[in-house]
Symmetry: C2
Subunit: 221 residues, 2 copies
């Protein structure tokens, strides 16, 4: 059963993962963010996310222009966005995004950044406000629940933050978009999860020609 049985809102994450378990290629870090040829990370990242980039919803949400694919991949991208009432990010993921998101950051909801630094809320045009939380993951989640207004709470990443929430038993479900690619190195989604710590139930599989979307519910075994 979900870890928050009294609440209708779900805590979830949704990531693209390679067949060998990576959600980010090696070398894709703040230091080399402007150099996608470093360790070939740009090509690997593109392969991992290639199902998402051409989708109509993704393009519209990032103001990349008109048009784009519609179909199961587009539906998935849109559904993840629309169910999300608030997001939670790790500090490094925020630092990367701060450099690369457009002025209208693509969340359009409150976002809670788990960090050790003090910083005033940062409001962006388009409805995204970043709140910086120094008191840990449970505090961030409690605030996100209030801010989500009945919507779901997305753990936006990175992998370390997702692992912290999984190990704390605070994730209700997740979606993996399993890309047909082998990266061999990088950041693994499940690096620090113990066998038996989380029980998983396969809820749903949405295939597309590009990727397989796998939805799992998390239970305490």
């Amino acid at each position: 059963m979900a870890s928050t049985p009294t609440s209708a809102d779900k805590v979830f994450f949704a990531v693209s993962m390679s067949l060998d378990g990576y959600i980010a290629p090696a070398g894709m870090d703040l230091e080399h963010a402007d150099d996608p040829s470093h360790n070939d990370w740009g090509r690997q990242w593109a392969a991992l996310q290639s199902w998402l980039f051409p989708q109509r919803f993704f393009r519209e949400n990032l103001n990349l222009g008109e048009g784009g694919e519609t179909g199961p991949d587009n539906d998935m991208a849109q559904e993840v966005f629309e169910r999300t009432g608030a997001s939670i990010l790790g500090k490094r993921m925020f630092d990367g995004g701060e450099r690369f998101w457009p002025e209208q950051a693509p969340f359009h909801t409150p976002v809670f950044v788990v960090t050790h630094i003090e910083r005033a809320p940062w409001e962006r045009p388009g409805g995204t406000t970043f709140h910086f939380i120094k008191d840990g993951i449970e505090c961030a989640l409690a605030q996100a629940r209030v801010a989500a207004g009945g919507g779901d709470i997305r753990i936006g990443g990175g992998a370390n933050l997702i692992q912290q929430y999984l190990n704390a038993g605070l994730v209700d479900e997740f979606t993996i978009s399993l890309a047909p690619v082998v990266l061999r190195a990088g950041t693994r989604l499940f690096d620090c999860i113990e066998f038996g710590r989380v029980g998983l139930q396969l809820v749903d599989t949405v295939p597309s020609p590009r990727v397989t979307h796998l939805r799992y519910a998390v239970s305490r075994p």
Copy 2:
């Protein structure tokens, strides 16, 4: 395109894999084969294979008794068996199987064991004959093609042998039965595959309540 365009028979593998990429738990080795409590490998192995064990075809093929599930998982187990005209195994996988297979080994076809030792063919009741090949993976495959009589050739494992065939460009397709379980440690399927060495195309997804069967075609990018 397949790496053997002039041949109708396919070279494939079919394995159960955890969400974090393992096809065997840590501690499941010859030394501890009789001690499934060692590192908890028995429970992890059962979780990985739990889709397969209750299937009618699996039970009949291992003489485990009447009855069993029918449905997509049973169809998958039966299809993998029926398409296979010959199998290729690594030496360690054979050593483990030699101890635990019933007298009627479950292949019922020729099996080629890639090894460094010399050994005469070993014929078992029920149609399985093990041939021991000292001249490497390509030689084993050439002999398996002849013996398969037009059927497909299954690379039965372990992971190291599968990786050798993948890196040599000799695999046409594979099926991963992705189990909803996180093992954290053990033998990874894709440990030694370079990004870009193999191009993968998602061919088919067969969901079941227990597992997701994912079929990929391999190409040379």
